[in-house]
């Protein structure tokens, strides 16, 4: 009777030692793969944060130094509008006054000076 019992009675798991060894190896490899995957995920998260921080700092530095493209463009538009308005006012004044040419020259130069002013003055206008 005993001789007809299956041989795996001595091994409750039902696996041969080779199979057990292979399973252990697979388990180790799976764990290593999982560790590697989580390391890659952490690296990507760190990369994303680093990219965001670098971009934010770049934009911040650009804005703080008065070289922001949007604000500079807004500044140019504003100063151009101011300059043309003052030129229009001057020409109107020149039409009524006899010293027209002198007045126009002085206002044009003030308009140029405004155009070359720093965009920091416009920072408040953007908001």
């Amino acid at each position: 009777m005993d001789s007809h019992e299956p041989s795996n009675r001595r091994r409750p798991t039902g696996y041969t030692p080779e199979q057990l060894q292979a399973r252990a190896l697979a388990r180790t490899r799976r764990a290593a793969m999982r560790r590697r995957a989580s390391r890659i995920r952490r690296s990507v998260a760190a990369l994303a944060l680093a990219l965001f921080s670098a971009a934010f700092l770049g934009v911040y530095a650009q804005l703080a130094s008065g070289h922001d493209p949007a604000l500079s463009a807004a500044a140019r538009r504003r100063t151009t509008a101011t300059a043309s308005l003052s030129a229009q006012k001057t020409s109107e004044t020149a039409g009524t006054s006899s010293t027209a040419s002198a007045s126009t020259e002085s206002s044009t130069s003030s308009g140029t000076a405004e155009t070359s002013s720093t965009p920091s003055a416009v920072t408040t206008s953007q908001s």
Binding site: V44, L47, F56, Y60, T123
Partner: protein, 198 residues
């Protein structure tokens, strides 16, 4: 002196905080998505076949990071005091009055990336082959996003932005072209087997 400078800078930047955050998130999303497209195309090629599992994990993580950056990009715009966009303006194409075409391109690209990205987790239901065919449209969504960045991005005219974008996108575009041209020539060979012998 330094504290005074910091205070001045904080006062100057304060009103633009949401706008700056959105710009930074947009830049990060562009770089992360370009890297993800590169890895995705490399996974299909023979170049890095042995690193398959690692590439897949990195590709997935980069895609999720891109989606997170895109969410930050869109949601922080809601707090911008200059544009004052509504949720509809940043989520529905052709609703915003600000550079409508470019904005819509970005919105369509976001929804396409989101839907195609999360479809990965339903690929057993969709079917692997069908999902693979569907996943090819991700490249199209990425190109739409790139066009949005170049057409509407505040920094699009800046040399540093163009250089950075070229650095990130040229390899991806090259790999994409190689894939498309490769598929096209494979198609020719498949339809005309004698073409291989010529």
């Amino acid at each position: 002196m330094t504290a005074t400078h910091a205070n001045i800078l904080a006062t100057a930047v304060g009103p633009h905080l949401f706008w700056m955050t959105s710009r930074a998130a947009g830049i990060a999303a562009l770089l992360l998505s370009s890297l993800s497209v590169c890895l995705g195309l490399l996974m299909g090629g023979r170049l890095l076949k042995r690193r398959g599992p690692d590439l897949r994990v990195a590709h997935e993580a980069l895609s999720l990071a891109t989606l997170a950056a895109l969410l930050v990009h869109g949601l922080t715009l809601l707090g911008d005091g200059y544009l004052h966009p509504s949720i509809g303006d940043v989520a529905v194409p052709f609703l915003s009055g600000y550079k409508t075409i470019w904005t819509s391109m970005g919105i369509v690209a976001f929804w396409a990336l989101l839907l195609l990205g999360i479809s990965y987790y339903a690929r057993t239901r969709i079917g692997a082959q069908r999902w693979r065919r569907l996943h090819r449209f991700t490249a199209l969504a990425w190109i739409l996003g790139l066009a949005h960045a170049l057409g509407e991005g505040t920094d699009a005219g800046q040399t540093w932005f163009l250089a950075m974008t070229a650095l990130a996108t040229v390899p991806a575009i090259g790999l994409l072209l190689a894939r498309w041209l490769g598929s096209a020539s494979n198609g020719v060979i498949a339809s005309n087997p004698t073409a291989r012998l010529e």
